[in-house]
């Protein structure tokens, strides 16, 4: 589904990703771990198409197509979803109307009929249960006045409504207390499917206690330096990142 080869990305004149390779297949969950500043969030954002991120080399194919050539909205309509580490507050834009516009943009793109208000509301009410989000938040402005946990749950809720094929979750566990983490993780697990791939970007191992990845990658200085089974995450938790980095250097 996603095939990244030798990807190089500059942000504000500085090279952050320095030849990254990654392949993710439908149905798989990959965790990208790594120390701060290793390029984890840059990877998530460049795949979603954030303006200002300059691709200087390599490629990223999504379902065989050049993902990097697509506008952010086109990627979204094709089924790529980014759950933000810091969801943006947008005063004056109603959360539920926004979601309806989003889902209908996707459906129009796919040549499907737009959802009417009734069907949309039914869908929303069903999916919101997944993340135990208070329905009253639906009629507020996007993320405005939401707590940190509510914002993260809102991201997973949006994902549940939009049903992407490739979900990129950027530090979705950060800033969550243990109860919220459980809820968010349960939401993510419920959305696992043979047709859907997920990339979890995370600094800590704790999310992976609840969402078991198929593969764990260690990102360091802009490259994936080690990949392994879920147990690798545990090892990183106890031993830190230094040994992997050392190992990569000496290899």
């Amino acid at each position: 589904m996603l095939k990244i080869e030798n990807l190089k990305v500059r942000v504000a004149g500085q090279e952050i990703l320095k030849g990254l390779d990654l392949e993710v297949n439908a149905g798989e969950v990959h965790a990208i771990m790594g120390p701060n500043g290793s390029g984890k969030s840059t990877l998530a954002h460049v795949l979603a198409g954030r303006p200002g991120y300059e691709v200087t080399g390599g490629s990223a194919l999504y379902e065989g197509r050049d993902l990097l050539a697509m506008a952010p909205e086109e990627r979204a309509r094709e089924g790529v979803f980014l759950a933000f580490q810091y969801p943006v507050e947008i005063p004056g834009v109603n959360n539920v109307y926004f979601l309806k516009a989003a889902i209908n943009a996707v459906r129009r793109h796919r040549g499907e009929q737009e959802l009417d208000a009734m069907d949309f509301l039914a869908l929303v009410k069903e999916r919101i249960k997944l993340v135990e989000l208070d329905e009253s938040l639906l009629n507020r402005s996007i993320n405005e006045g939401f707590s940190g946990g509510e914002k993260k749950r809102n991201e997973i809720f949006q994902m549940a409504v939009l049903e992407p094929k490739l979900a990129l979750l950027d530090e979705t566990d950060s800033g969550l207390d243990i109860d919220a983490l459980r809820v968010v993780a349960a939401g993510i697990n419920a959305l696992r499917s043979p047709d859907r791939a997920m990339v979890l970007v995370t600094h800590y191992q704790r999310l992976l206690d609840y969402v078991k990845p198929d593969v764990v990658h260690v990102l360091s200085a802009g490259r994936i330096v080690k990949s392994g089974p879920p147990e690798l995450a545990k090892e990183l938790e106890t031993r830190g990142y230094d040994w992997v980095v050392q190992e990569a250097r000496s290899a």
Partner: protein
């Protein structure tokens, strides 16, 4: 040069620092002739309609409160140049008398510019008297049926008696090349209320002066406005709120979205007289610039001679929030639509305060018509 030059604001007049009417002196204007309009081309009325065609009252459909009299020529020395121009050149004053203790409903003053070749200069004058405890919604609406580059200098004077309540809704959709000056002065007695909602979409050169004198204890006003200048449009609002006595309240919020080649000017003056303690005056002006070639000038002015007052003002000038743009796009919303959504959100906070549902809907539609790819925004209403 034409005869207007004697009356137009002079260079150096501080009240017109950002807005020059000098170009008007070089144009050829005709005096308003009895013009005709095809009624079918006019927008549906919001209430009883007074129809002005090219500045002259043509029809007073179902507005029994309406009369006419000699124009008011006498103005204080402090009046603006354009107000003095109106007083000098007006040919009559249309009067509206709302009897005490009545609800006059909605009265619409529709200023329609007919489809004619030679531009017309006109100086309509309207005097409104609102009796004690009376209530009226006054819609001031400017539309163009052609592309005539008219100059309209409108003056509205309003006396609002004790406990009376006036809602003023102004929708300005003048012709692309038109110049428009409006001067509205409302004087409020004890416990009277004046709320204004002004939306400026059209015109090339627009100057709106809005003055509210809170002359009676407990009088209050709320002034809301939106400017949407695009290419070759200059929209200037000057407000002046005078807190003359104790316990008077004012709220003000103007928002401008300025596109490439457009300019918005906002000058908000709050005057608090000596002894007007207990004054509460809140003012906010926000500007959204959509292009490097867009300009906004904003100036709050406070002049306070009382001790016990609560006055706050704020002004912002910013661009579209790029983080918000990206967020919307990652959810499948296209660039143009995302921009429109954010612009809509920016102005909607003010539009939503328009209390007359018909007018609000119509104004919102007119605003939406200015936004690209706004079809999606249907979802947001």
């Amino acid at each position: 040069m034409n005869a207007l030059v004697d009356w137009l604001p002079r260079p150096g007049d501080e009240a017109y620092k950002y807005t020059s009417f000098a170009a008007l002196a070089r144009r050829k204007y005709a005096a308003p002739a009895p013009g005709t309009v095809d009624a079918a081309q006019l927008p549906a009325p919001f209430g009883a309609r007074l129809l002005f065609v090219d500045g002259r009252l043509q029809d007073r459909d179902g507005a029994p409160e309406c009369g006419s009299g000699a124009p008011h020529r006498d103005l204080p020395e402090s009046a603006t140049a354009l107000r003095k121009m109106n007083a000098a050149l007006a040919t009559e004053s249309i009067t509206l008398d709302i009897p005490p203790d009545t609800d006059a409903g909605v009265i619409e003053l529709l200023f329609a510019s007919s489809d004619h070749a030679t531009p017309v200069a006109s100086y309509p004058q309207v005097t409104v008297t609102v009796g004690a405890n009376a209530k009226v919604t006054l819609v001031e609406r400017h539309v163009a049926l052609g592309e005539a580059q008219d100059f309209t200098n409108l003056a509205i004077d309003m006396q609002v008696a004790r406990g009376a309540c006036v809602t003023h809704i102004a929708l300005q959709q003048g012709a692309t090349g038109a110049a428009l000056a409006t001067g509205l002065h409302a004087t409020l007695a004890v416990d009277a209320q004046f709320d204004s909602h002004a939306v400026h979409l059209g015109g090339a050169l627009v100057r709106a002066d809005l003055t509210v004198t809170l002359a009676g204890r407990g009088a209050r006003c709320a002034l809301y406005g939106v400017h949407l200048p695009g290419m070759r449009q200059h929209i200037d609002t000057h407000t002046r709120i005078e807190h003359m006595v104790r316990d008077t309240t004012s709220v003000e919020e103007y928002r401008a979205v300025v596109d490439r080649g457009g300019r918005s000017v906002f000058n908000g003056k709050v005057f608090v007289a000596k002894g007007a303690d207990g004054t509460d005056a809140q003012q906010f002006n926000a500007n959204l610039l959509l292009s490097e070639q867009a300009e906004a000038d904003t100036k709050p002015e406070l002049e306070i001679y009382a001790d016990d007052v609560k006055c706050a003002h704020g002004a912002t000038v910013g661009k579209l929030d790029e983080a918000a743009m990206f967020y919307l796009r990652t959810r499948g919303i296209g660039v143009e639509a995302a921009r429109s959504v954010l612009i809509w959100a920016f102005v909607e906070t003010v539009l939503t305060k328009i209390p007359l549902a018909d007018a609000r809907r119509s104004i919102e539609d007119a605003v939406l018509a200015r936004l690209p790819d706004a079809g999606l925004i249907g979802e947001f209403r």
